[in-house]
């Protein structure tokens, strides 16, 4: 039996589906966070050069990856909303922005914490650090622009343009360590392989999965509120059991 995926792009269907999925994603995220932290702090060995400070990487790297991917997903949804005028796409883009901004903030914060003992400074205007800071400002700009326009559909269109134009910053962040002579190190994990200890890899990938699941859960929860807010004048919202209470 073929599944009609377009059915789930309607807020009416997606609202219920998201509600059912949130506990699964949230519970899995909590479990994976616990496992990742255990491996990261108790199983992974101390690094020969960086000592214990390298353990910041288990949150810094997933937060950085999430901040970039979430921006691309947000821009993708914004573009879909702009091109096809679909209601849910714009709502999803609006729901992703705060989570993406928080991951960018965590990335910058943990990076500074690692930089102090390793580089001797909390911050420097390195290409990777500066482009990540611009990513945080793009997220904040998207949120501020959307909030400053009263009409939601006009706000969606204006913010979508900013998101699409800003997406050019993501490849700049990723390739900054190759294009410029930066202090920030390049990728340790490549398609050709890695020299990382297996326990370090396990901690890193478990934390990455946990961050993904957390982000999905929290974005789905936020988009449900946005759907409620925007569709409040419809009969299907009035008929919801949580509204009838």
């Amino acid at each position: 039996m073929a599944i009609n995926w377009f059915k789930y792009s309607a807020p009416t269907t997606f609202y219920g589906l998201a509600g059912k999925m949130i506990p699964w994603f949230a519970f899995s995220a909590a479990i994976l966070f616990a496992i990742g932290l255990y491996i990261g702090f108790f199983v992974a060995p101390t690094d020969a050069q960086q000592g214990e400070f390298y353990r910041i990487m288990f949150i810094h790297v997933p937060a950085s990856i999430l901040s970039m991917f979430l921006y691309l997903i947000m821009a993708g949804y914004a573009a879909l909303g702009l091109i096809f005028n679909t209601r849910l796409s714009a709502m999803m883009a609006t729901a992703i922005a705060p989570t993406g901004a928080l991951f960018a903030l965590i990335s910058l914060w943990t990076g500074a914490l690692w930089g102090k003992p390793m580089w001797g400074t909390w911050w420097l205007w390195d290409a990777r650090l500066t482009s990540e800071l611009i990513l945080l400002f793009l997220y904040l700009g998207f949120i501020a622009l959307h909030a400053s326009i009263d009409d939601p559909r006009r706000a969606d269109r204006a913010a979508a343009l900013l998101a699409i134009v800003g997406s050019v910053n993501v490849p700049i962040i990723y390739f900054s360590v190759k294009w410029w002579n930066t202090l920030h190190q390049g990728s340790t994990i490549k398609f050709s392989g890695t020299t990382m200890h297996i326990a370090m890899q396990q901690a890193m990938f478990t934390m990455l999965a946990a961050c993904w699941l957390y982000a999905i859960a929290v974005v789905l929860a936020r988009v449900r509120s946005i759907i409620l807010e925007r569709e409040r004048n419809t009969t299907w919202i009035a008929d919801l059991p949580e509204v009838k209470q």
Partner: protein, 62 residues
């Protein structure tokens, strides 16, 4: 600043745990609380609108 440098080198795990992981978990906790609060407020507004609509309909019928 020098005392912080000395402290972080003497207590690297405390520095790593409280500086990065505790802060990240606190940020996640604040975000979850904000999302829950937003849902609560939105549901209250929708219920109020629904009740106001019902009252207006009842008065119209009366």
């Amino acid at each position: 600043m020098i005392s912080l440098d000395i402290w972080m080198r003497e207590n690297p795990l405390t520095y790593v745990w409280f500086g990065s992981y505790a802060v990240a978990l606190l940020i996640f906790a604040i975000e979850i609380a904000m999302v829950k609060h937003k849902r609560k407020i939105t549901l209250q507004q929708v219920r109020l609108m629904r009740n106001a609509g019902d009252d207006a309909r009842d008065e119209g019928i009366a």
